[in-house]
Amino acid sequence: MNPVRALGAGFLKFLAANGRLTVFALNGVSHCVRPPFYPRMILRQLIDIGYYSLPVVALTTLFAGMVLALQSYTGFSRFSAEGAIPSVVALSMTRELSPVLAGLMIAGRIGASMAAELGTMRVTEQVDALETLSTNPIKYLIVPRLLAGVTMLPFLVLIGDILGIFGGYVVSVYKLGFNEQTYLINTWNFIESQDVISGLVKAAVFGFLVALMGCYHGFNSRGGAQGVGAATTNAVVSASILILIANYMITEIFFAQ
């Protein structure tokens, strides 16, 4: 095949894949607002994403906050700017680190398991069986996951914000010799609601992306165990990349003057 044709074919394939994904996403979202709903399935996903991801997200953000304080101290103490540490920790955690880290951890934990579960259901004809039992698989399988992704990630990120700031506080007070009260007052005075809100908006978007990628790749997987494996990898990789891209775009929207 000549290179121009190969390029053209590749581009068309890319467009087709994007089209399919967009149709899938719109379909999923539109079913979110149309009954019937499956409360049991929604509850199961809420617990799976919200509750069982708590340890992972908590540990990640806690240590991120701690290391942030430590590293900023090394840098800032050279020009006597240690006083900026509380605000640096608070801003970085709420605006960037907590949403992005939680998003990536959830992409690995939840995106992969969604793709594997739905992929297995697809290749063992369980999705077909749903159709024959008058149950729309989009409503039964996809909608609960999308809803849980969008609602639970902000919750996790909020907890991540608190733990990250707490981690910075612990290191600053017990290791770097900061005054407890000054640290807290500095943090409180500096942080603005917009910082937290932008982080939560990011979280909701990331949660949607992770669930969408997990569902899309799992739901469309083909060809046995190998196909399910490929779907799982694709779900995690594409969700992670999309999270980083979306993160930049949302930051641009919120903070570009």
Binding site: Q126, A129, E131, L133
Partner: protein, 263 residues
């Protein structure tokens, strides 16, 4: 082939259905009428497209051309919602059972009742246990997860799920494969009961000729994407069709050539 003009509309009608995957042509002009309360058995070689045909009727696969009617209604003209209503009348046993492995066995059987018919879980569970008993499984099997079952048990749970909603139309894809001969017999009787007493219309795919003779009113043989012979089950031994004869005797000699390569 004797085909007296039918007075009633057929329950299921497939006319000139074509389905291929890529350039692999599977169904090439498949036509079949199934009358109400009739039990039709489809026979045919492995990989000839029997399961694909059932999936086309269920709308899980879309044929490239041809018409499929249920109760005289052209399926291709239906909206998604109407299609779901039609599917609600159909029970399907998948070849590999396709049980939901995140749910216990009884919930698998009761699934169509709870999710489709919006029945409460308590009464649905009772029906599920009763249907499990009909396929020879005890109530404590109901609490197990599908992964804990043997192959034959899975098949029977799939069967219980297919008949749980007392459907109008039932498709059985190899219901007795993997069962011992006695249990196979029990399942055959259950299928006959569904048709004769409950009044369902059934299409069964099977490779088991003894079972086919017990279940069928009529048999159809699928070969190279078409129905090459169909007729009452009593005619099966003198069909006058060399393909059918070879198939029911299972002889390696005859017009059907298995595509094998010499080692």
């Amino acid at each position: 082939m004797t085909n007296t003009p039918a007075p009633k509309t057929p329950k299921i009608r497939l006319k000139d259905v074509h389905k291929s995957f890529g350039d692999k042509r599977i169904l090439q002009g498949f036509s079949l009428d199934v009358m109400p309360q009739e039990s039709v058995v489809i026979i045919g070689g492995s990989g000839t497209g029997k399961s694909v045909m059932l999936k086309c009727i269920l709308g899980l696969l879309e044929p490239e051309s041809g018409e499929i009617d249920i109760d005289g209604v052209r399926l291709s003209t239906l909206s998604r919602g109407e299609r779901e209503q039609v599917n609600a009348k159909i029970g399907m046993l998948f070849q590999n059972a396709a049980l939901f492995d995140s749910l216990p066995v009884w919930e698998n059987v009761a699934f169509g009742l709870i999710q489709g018919k919006k029945m409460r879980r308590g009464p649905a569970k009772e029906i599920a246990i009763e249907k499990l008993a009909q396929v020879g499984l005890t109530a404590d099997v109901g609490a197990l997860s599908p992964a804990e079952l043997s192959g034959g048990m899975r098949k029977r749970v799939g069967l219980a799920r297919a008949i749980a909603g007392d459907p109008d139309i039932i498709f059985f894809d190899e219901p007795t494969t993997g069962l011992d001969p006695i249990m196979g017999h029990v399942i055959d009787e259950l299928i006959v009961k569904c048709v004769k007493q409950v009044g369902a219309t059934a299409i069964t795919i099977t490779h088991d000729m003894a079972s086919a003779r017990r279940i069928a009113d009529r048999m159809a043989m699928l070969y190279q994407g078409k129905v090459i012979w169909h007729g009452p089950v009593t005619n099966i031994d003198n069909s006058g069709n060399a393909y059918v004869e070879q198939f029911i005797t299972g002889s390696a000699e005859g017009p059907i050539k298995m595509e094998l390569r010499k080692l």
